[in-house]
């Protein structure tokens, strides 16, 4: 985090991008109240805060997506362009959003020069466009991306590079990265950090939005904390402790519980349900083909009241195994039984009926219906039970069924009829979990249930999953690539290349050993921690 000697643009006091006293209200919620923020050339500023703290709102305002109610955005000390003037905004700042904004059907070069293609006599100059793209890509060390390849053929990481290249091609010196690591694997994250450091070293001002505090400490020179729409802390990262940062994010009264979840809950984590002898889930010799990573001859048992983690990298088959168990993915050979009843491959409705609750990995794609309310989404799995003989379901019945779930998961909304699309990411995830728990399942299958949610929501979600096993005797299968999730598990199996390569049976699990097993740094074979 030392001062950068090669800073191309002198930090002479005029920030390349600055927000001054921003206020923004949505309905009755004050999303931002008097927030100021300044980026400096050759510095990386981390922006952290819980879901709903106002991070996305601030980034959207500073990217020209919508205007502030009060206050203003300045670039190089000048007023920001008019709201609709996309071109002018694009020339000042480049935002790489959490969700990919590349056009998959177009090539890398077309995406990099989208809507600003080099022209020759009024026509698109394809040759120059490709050459310029190649130049930009190699200049920043993105050599593994082919300028002529369609973006649909790229990995998530490469698509992100295309977006960054798009920003850099226009020579912009101001880059906003919104949760850039959310969809990346470990090695990719490493490379991203190297690139961000290189960008910063060359004088680019970077705003780095993240949930992961380690990342902030790793790449950011400064960190700004938003809480409830107010900027509560802006400080150099050097000399700031993680606990201080967490405390600033969650506020004084919930800090304790959040830190507890951060440090693990090893004391309570081992309280096994008495009826632990009976297997609830039996997976035998399961083999499957999937774009999420294949499975080869995987066998696994989960007993009642047991919390089993399945850890591994994205392509290791972790999600495939979980989806197969939830009935959401067919398999080629082997079998799966829930409490002795065979599972029908690829039929989530049947899996649900024999007692599997499912929390899919991508909540936006499969977790909820945006336009429908909290109560309706949470009870979608139990309409059969709520409906009378004629199939009529009264909204009152849905609300009554949803209320205890909402309380259990501390879902916060403006009423149970508020569309889930309007909630923050953490609350959306809680609704997704509520929907899985509504059926009072024998087995809950959760894939990366805390991905992209804030520290406090993460704690609440893990707590809810953990208490299911200890109090209700539910079996929990937790498939994840986030080691923090594993603190609630009684046992962890590690998948690599679609096979179980290690099993850890004694919590607390050693982080180093887990990572070694996940990344394949130790020879295959059962390892018992």
């Amino acid at each position: 985090m030392a001062e950068n000697p090669e800073r191309a643009v002198p930090s002479d006091g005029v920030p390349p991008a600055e927000a001054v006293g921003i206020y923004k209200q949505f309905g009755s919620t004050l999303a931002l109240s008097g927030v100021s923020l300044a980026l400096r050339p050759g510095r990386c500023l981390g922006l952290v805060g819980r879901n709903g703290a106002g991070k996305s709102t601030l980034v959207s305002i500073m990217s020209g997506i919508y205007g502030p109610d009060r206050g203003q955005v300045l670039f190089e000390g000048e007023r920001a362009p008019a709201l609709g003037d996309v071109e002018a905004w694009r020339n000042r700042v480049a935002t790489v959003f959490q969700h990919s904004m590349v056009v998959p059907q177009l090539t890398v070069a077309e995406n990099v020069f989208l809507n600003c293609q080099p022209k020759r006599s009024g026509m698109v100059d394809w040759k120059t466009m490709r050459a310029d793209t190649r130049r930009v890509l190699s200049e920043w060390g993105f050599d593994d991306v082919d300028a002529a390849a369609p973006c649909s053929s790229l990995s998530v990481e490469q698509r992100q590079l295309v977006e960054i290249a798009r920003a850099l091609a226009a020579g912009r010196r101001c880059l906003f990265l919104d949760e850039p690591t959310a969809a990346l694997e470990r090695a990719e994250i490493r490379r991203l950090f190297d690139r961000v450091r290189a960008l910063v070293a060359s004088g680019v001002a970077v705003l780095y939005i993240s949930h992961h505090l380690e990342e902030v400490f790793e790449v950011c020179d400064e960190v700004a904390v938003l809480r409830d729409g107010e900027m509560v802390l802006t400080q150099e990262t050097a000399g700031l402790s993680k606990d201080e940062l967490v405390a600033a994010m969650v506020g004084p009264d919930v800090a304790a519980s959040a830190i507890m979840s951060q440090n693990g809950r090893d004391g309570t984590g081992t309280s096994m349900h008495p009826d632990s002898g009976r297997p609830c889930l039996v997976v035998e010799h399961l083999s499957a083909i999937s774009p999420r990573g294949p499975l080869h001859d995987v066998s696994l048992e989960v007993r009642r009241g047991e919390r089993v983690g399945v850890a591994g990298l994205l392509g290791a088959g972790v999600a495939t195994l979980a989806r197969a168990v939830a009935g959401a993915h067919p398999w080629q050979s082997g079998k799966i039984e829930i409490d002795g009843a065979p599972l029908v491959p690829g039929r989530p409705d049947k899996a649900l009926r024999i007692g599997v609750g499912f929390v899919p990995e991508d909540r936006r794609a499969e977790g909820f219906v945006r336009l429908l309310g909290v109560a309706e989404n949470s009870t979608m799995t139990i309409v059969d039970r709520l409906a009378n003989r004629l199939g009529v379901v009264m909204p009152r019945a849905k609300a009554a069924a949803a209320r205890p779930l909402a309380a259990r998961l501390s879902i916060v909304s403006a009423g149970l009829s508020q569309p889930v699309g309007e909630l923050s990411g953490g609350n959306q995830q809680k609704v997704t979990v509520a929907r899985a728990l509504a059926t009072e399942p024998k087995l809950v299958v959760a894939i990366a249930p805390t991905r992209g949610v804030d520290v406090a929501s993460k704690a609440a979600l893990l707590e809810a999953l953990s208490s299911l096993a200890s109090s209700d005797g539910t079996a929990v299968l937790l498939a994840t690539d986030d080691l923090d999730d594993l603190v609630i598990c009684d046992r962890v199996v590690v998948l690599r290349g679609g096979e179980i390569v290690a099993e850890f049976t004694e919590p607390p699990f050693d982080r180093e050993e887990l990572i070694a097993a996940i990344e394949g740094l130790v020879p295959n074979g059962k390892v018992t921690a």
Binding site: S56, V392, S410, S413, S457
Partner: protein, 361 residues
């Protein structure tokens, strides 16, 4: 477990000792309930937003012609709007699951054609089967259901594009309809067959009563039946619905079938109204355009997952009033289509402005 995590609540909790939790939560609940009541009021306003336009049209109609504000004119409008309205209900359901069906137009013509062909005598260009008219009505419904099953299977199970499938189907159905009677017009329909489209209870057309019942019934079904809620879920996010255990394919195919059956019933009303079935009923008038326009003006989102029967009914009423006013105003026949189309485009723009953008992010 009791950490409240909204911005509002978190702010409140910081200023409060932990003991005050319960009362604080009650207060927060009260606030939230009030907000949700406000939200409900807002959505009601949005649903009724086209009402001023209806009132405006009635005023315009009254100024244009002194016949407009008569009972007989209104019962005429009701008669005309009924057939359209029933088809709009069907199309709205299909649009709400994120689909589309252009071939409702074809079903609207073919179903009554096949039924009438089996009923009426050879002298009226019938087949000679001389079936009982009630059996004919059953056959009409069956034809509708068959077309719906066929469309549904091709689109849902076959994974084909709904637009192309139903466009092709429209042409096939119109061709069959015309081919069966070799472009003749079937007439002398038995009274049981034409009752629905031509009879009156007092001044009120029977078809209008039936249409209103269908609107109300489907509206209640959408709001209170799990099948109706499944339609919103499937249209809003099919994958989420699937993961929640809803049999998405069955819902979709079911809606295609229901839509086609409703179109067949609409066709029966039209056949009764004009006491004949032409070789081009439906196809000739291009009713599918009006059907889509009424649904979309009524706030049914072509993206799926959004819309309701109050809106769809408003769309039907609006377009029927416009049609009636144009007729009464003695607009030259040569220009009536251009004006009608223009009014529809304006209506779409207005309803878009009133409806506002769908909430994003």
């Amino acid at each position: 477990m009791t950490q409240l995590s909204s911005e509002k609540d978190a702010r409140a909790t910081t200023a409060r000792p932990p003991g005050a939790e319960a009362s604080g939560r009650a207060a927060a609940d009260a606030v939230l309930q009030q907000t949700s009541r406000q939200a409900r009021a807002v959505s009601l306003v949005r649903e009724a937003a086209l009402l001023p336009v209806v009132v405006l049209l009635i005023i315009v109609g009254a100024l244009v012609s002194n016949v407009f504000l008569t009972v007989s004119n209104f019962s005429g409008i009701g008669l005309q709007a009924s057939a359209l309205g029933v088809v709009v209900v069907g199309e709205s359901l299909i649009i709400m699951i994120g689909g589309m069906d252009l071939s409702l137009e074809g079903t609207y013509g073919l179903a009554p054609m096949v039924a009438a062909w089996l009923i009426v005598p050879v002298a009226a260009f019938g087949s000679g089967a001389d079936l009982n008219p009630y059996i004919g009505i059953l056959i009409l419904i069956l034809v509708g259901a068959l077309v719906g099953v066929f469309n549904g299977l091709l689109i849902v199970k076959g994974g084909l594009n709904a637009f192309i499938v139903t466009l092709g189907m429209t042409i096939v159905l119109a061709g069959l309809q015309n081919g069966i009677v070799k472009a003749q017009t079937l007439f002398s329909l038995p009274s049981a067959f034409s009752y629905l489209g031509s009879a009156y209870w007092g001044q009120v057309p029977v078809s209008l009563v039936v249409t209103v019942i269908i609107f109300v019934g489907v509206g209640l079904f959408l709001r209170y039946h799990r099948g109706g809620r499944a339609i919103y879920a499937v249209g809003g996010n099919a994958e989420a619905a699937r993961a929640a255990g809803i049999n998405v394919d069955r819902v979709k195919i079911g809606v295609y079938v229901a839509g086609s059956v409703l179109a067949a019933i609409g066709g029966l009303m039209e056949a009764g109204r004009v006491s004949a079935v032409t070789g081009q009923q439906g196809y000739q008038e291009g009713i599918i355009f009006t059907v889509f326009a009424a649904a979309v003006i009524g706030g049914v989102s072509l993206a799926g997952g959004k819309g309701n029967m109050v809106g769809a009914a408003t769309g039907v009423v609006l377009l029927s009033l416009v049609q009636n006013i144009l007729d009464l105003a003695n607009v030259s026949n040569y220009w009536i289509l251009a004006i009608y189309g223009g009014v529809i485009l304006i209506g779409l723009a207005v309803s878009r402005m009133i409806g506002g953008k769908t909430s994003q992010g």
